[in-house]
């Protein structure tokens, strides 16, 4: 089981808004697939999946604000 967290996006950036999930719970992802898109300031940022597996949980919905370090999703590897 891999917990995907919002990584550091830069100095002074403490949170970002989920703007798009590329997958839904139950979907299979490959490593490095675009998993989720965030927006901060005038930028969008795509976070890739850190592993291959099935998404067992998405912790936030589009439009939600997430703090750096918070768990975004859980992926069952395999």
């Amino acid at each position: 089981m891999t917990k995907v967290v919002l990584p550091e996006l830069g100095e002074g950036i403490e949170k970002a808004t989920v703007s798009y999930w590329y997958f839904k719970t139950g979907d299979r992802v490959k490593e490095k697939d675009d998993l989720v898109e965030f927006t901060t300031d005038k930028a969008t940022f795509n976070l890739p999946s850190p592993c291959a597996g099935i998404i067992s949980e998405l912790m936030f919905q589009e439009g939600d604000t997430v703090n750096v370090g918070e768990i975004l999703a859980v992926i069952e590897e395999g």
Binding site: G10, E11, D34, E37, K42, A43
Partner: protein, 255 residues
């Protein structure tokens, strides 16, 4: 970091968007360290991820009659307008060579414009929370980017010619009631857009402590080779990225 310059001249927004993706793919594969596209666009309104269509103030039919197209893109920000009176620059930069910091990258794009304005004796300003460059209370440059695998695309537009400002009244730029200005409006002189290109390219070189890699292609359909002559520009000290630039990204950093 080295970047190759692609001067596309006056070009269609969607074709340039595809060209950005092509350069992005080459940067991601490591075939090119980074690229800088410089161009002008035929009239187009673009909507970023945060855009509200209500910020386009006239109907689509009327826009078509005026020869203005609309395009939804994956950059950050709201609605903006491009036309041949602007210079638009798309840095497809691999931030794995620099610093992986979104806000720093945005501030550096602003710095490029502020440096250009300084050359004309104009004070460009930043306002916290209002990304872009302003002269007084009027906006002269708009910024909206996207980052994937820590490689940037989309970028910034600078209003150069004064005759390009009229159509901004068709939108609420960035979703705000703001007034746009241009370089020509401020200095009250004609400016040849081509003259600014080299200056801007050099500002990018300096702000990002980068080198310019030539082999320029004017035609995106030719799919320029990443091989070319390297000009002997050296990075200047005191840049935002000074002392922190990397010659080679760490392997694990390249997604």
């Amino acid at each position: 970091m080295r970047f190759e310059v692609f001067d596309l001249g006056l070009t269609d927004f969607r074709k340039t968007w595809e060209f950005q993706k092509d350069i992005f793919a080459r940067v991601k594969k490591g075939l090119l360290e980074s690229g800088l596209i410089i161009c002008q666009h035929y009239p187009v309104i673009t909507l970023g991820r945060s855009a509200d269509r209500k910020n386009i103030l006239i109907g689509e039919q009327e826009l078509r009659q005026r020869g203005i197209s609309i395009c939804e893109v994956e950059r950050g920000g709201d609605v903006t307008y491009h036309d041949p009176a602007q210079l638009t620059l798309y840095p497809i930069f691999n931030l794995n060579y620099l610093k992986k910091d979104i806000h720093l990258f945005l501030r550096c794009l602003e710095e490029v414009v502020i440096g250009l304005l300084e050359d004309f004796g104009i004070e460009g300003k930043r306002y916290p929370g209002l990304t872009g460059v302003w002269v007084g209370k009027e906006k002269i440059a708009s910024i909206g980017i996207a980052i994937k695998s820590w490689i940037s695309f989309h970028g910034l537009s600078i209003n150069v010619k004064k005759d390009g400002l009229d159509n901004f009244c068709l939108i609420r730029p960035c979703g705000m009631d703001i007034k746009m200005t241009s370089l020509e409006t401020i200095i009250a002189k004609n400016i040849a857009i081509d003259v600014l290109k080299e200056t801007l390219i050099c500002k990018f070189r300096d702000v990002f402590s980068a080198e310019i890699f030539t082999g320029m292609s004017l035609d995106p359909s030719t799919r320029v080779s990443s091989d070319g002559d390297t000009l002997s520009f050296s990075a200047e000290s005191g840049s935002a990225y000074g002392g922190s630039g990397k010659d080679v990204p760490d392997k694990e950093e390249v997604g």
